[in-house]
């Protein structure tokens, strides 16, 4: 398998796009025609060859461009990557998990040689060839979490487990849907989710925490989350809200198909072996409305989901300015036909 890595941008001229072959493998987040919060967690085991659920850490055509965007964000704002002092062991756990998984799943792209604590890592797409002593941070150019976080798509939070709670004590977060690591670091599970409406009352977080506290090693889990983003911008951080907020006023009936993107997070949860922390990758996939509706099932379903979305969620997800326009635009792709269950295209 060879991946043609796209040369594209997530800012300024926004040249990001999905190639036709990449569209059907998009993790469309709606298994039904209606959406409401749920603790929609399932085992993260290999599912459907070619899908983003095939491998532990999905690598796709956007890999190299996403890593370039991350480097730009970190150069501008080093506070996007922070770890409290007790999180170094968890950083090494993260290094091991990613290197072992990628070398196994993509042997043509990544190579790992382990000789005791001497590790040799080759990342061909990013042209990295490094030797280091596993567990000795002085043999890496930076904190182990940052080192590997710059080589894996998606944001990564690491959650320490103590006192019957999970604590957001480390993360490399450059492609977030409007939350601040710098503000939230050190918070417990309920505190950092505090701004989310409705879900607390539904008991979603209580159930999710209970599940995560007993997450066993070697049995990762996953769920999908979603929002909409105007322009294919990865860095929709609160820090940079004045840069991306105005995009929301630029949507018109003429450009809505190319401007508005379905933004899906493939969230996975991994118990780490040495630190007993939980690695929480938040992998973002972006797809323009024009690309989504090339799959008739997705066009029909997205119309129904958007039309019936609860007002609190329209507001919380920041869709208010263009939501009615989007529902109207999507209606042309909904002929009223039944849709098949599940997320995959027909």
């Amino acid at each position: 398998m060879t991946i043609q890595f796209r040369n594209e941008t997530f800012r300024n001229d926004f040249t990001y796009a999905n190639s036709p072959g990449n569209i059907p493998r998009f993790p469309f987040p709606f298994p039904e025609d209606v959406y409401m919060y749920s603790t929609n967690v399932e085992p993260h085991h290999a599912t459907r060859a070619g899908s983003p659920f095939e491998n532990a850490f999905d690598v796709d055509e956007h890999y190299v461009a996403e890593m370039k965007d991350r480097a730009l964000v970190l150069a501008e704002d080093p506070g996007r990557c922070q770890a409290l002092p007790h999180m170094e062991t968890a950083g090494w756990d993260f290094v091991e998990l990613v290197m072992v998984s990628k070398a196994r799943d993509y042997p043509d792209l990544f190579e790992l040689t382990i000789d005791g604590d001497r590790w040799h890592w080759i990342n061909k797409p990013l042209q990295i060839d490094d030797s280091f002593i596993f567990g000795d941070s002085s043999t890496l150019p930076c904190h182990p979490m940052e080192y590997i976080g710059r080589q894996v798509q998606g944001d990564h939070a690491i959650l320490d487990q103590r006192d019957g709670n999970l604590w957001l004590d480390a993360g490399i977060i450059t492609a977030q849907a409007d939350w601040s690591l710098d503000f939230d670091i050190g918070m417990n599970f309920f505190e950092w989710h505090a701004p989310v409406p409705l879900a607390h009352e539904l008991g979603v977080f209580q159930r999710a925490l209970k599940f995560l506290l007993s997450l066993p090693q070697g049995q990762p889990s996953r769920r999908l989350n979603w929002t909409l983003t105007v322009n294919p911008r990865l860095d929709t951080s609160p820090e940079n809200y004045p840069k991306w907020g105005p995009d929301r006023t630029t949507v018109t009936p003429e450009n809505i198909g190319e401007k508005v993107h379905l933004r899906v997070e493939l969230q996975t949860f991994w118990r780490l072996p040495r630190s007993n922390a939980i690695l929480f990758p938040i992998r973002t996939y972006l797809m323009a409305m024009n690309e989504v509706v090339t799959q008739p099932k997705w066009g029909r379903r997205l119309h129904r989901v958007m039309r019936d979305l609860r007002p609190e969620l329209v507001e919380y997800k920041g869709l208010s300015r263009y939501h009615p326009m989007l529902v109207e635009w999507l209606s042309q792709f909904d002929d009223g036909a039944l849709t098949s269950p599940g997320i995959f295209p027909d």
Partner: protein
């Protein structure tokens, strides 16, 4: 009974109770002028030998002496007062770094005092179950501008203008114990021409 007027809010927004003596080997109190009466109330209701295990830090309002005298008269093992919350909290850090297991911390006064003292106690490794807080006085907030990271003290308005980057910030209820601050996020980022009324709300 607590006289705090904080409305029910989101889960990261701290809530406060009423100070009451908990079993402990040492008892540390930090208060500002609005919280002094809470310290006096607890001390007056305490058993005889309690004050021998009590350490008090106090931040008076400038020029005020009566409460200093009243707190001093409680006969604590140590009593010190400082002109600013930051000075008192720094002293608390010194005290707690020498403190033994079984220490209790009692905080009374404005949210800024409580927030900064809680953050210092966490840094010293004091378990949160050993910390009690009673809110009194102003509801003025300490706010972090999420955009330029400036800390803005004594915020009473909604929204508030960041003195550093000039953005007009919505003061959220989202609160960081580590920063002892509420989050401020630009309120008119999507349409900066939007006219927004500034109102006094955190009194």
């Amino acid at each position: 009974m607590s006289e705090s007027l904080i409305e029910e809010s989101i889960l990261s927004r701290p809530t406060y109770g009423t100070l009451a003596i908990a079993p402990g080997l040492a008892h540390y109190f930090v208060a500002d002028a609005s919280g002094a009466e809470c310290v006096i109330r607890v001390a007056e209701a305490a058993p005889r030998d309690f004050m021998e295990k009590v350490h008090i830090l106090y931040v008076p309002t400038p020029g005020e002496n009566a409460l200093i005298t009243a707190l001093y008269a409680l006969g604590a093992k140590r009593f010190e007062h400082f002109p600013t919350i930051d000075d008192a909290v720094a002293r608390l850090g010194d005290w707690l770094s020498d403190a033994r297991m079984g220490s209790q911390l009692y905080l009374a006064g404005t949210e800024t005092l409580i927030g900064k003292a809680v953050a210092a106690a966490e840094e010293c490794g004091l378990d949160h179950s050993a910390v009690q807080c009673e809110h009194r006085g102003s509801l003025a907030r300490r706010v972090q501008c999420v955009h330029c990271k400036t800390m803005i003290e004594k915020v009473t308005t909604q929204p508030v203008k960041c003195p550093s980057c000039d953005l007009l910030l919505l003061v959220r209820d989202h609160y960081s114990r580590r920063l002892a601050a509420f989050q401020g996020v630009c309120i008119n980022a999507e349409d900066p021409t939007e006219d927004i009324e500034i109102r006094e709300v955190f009194k």
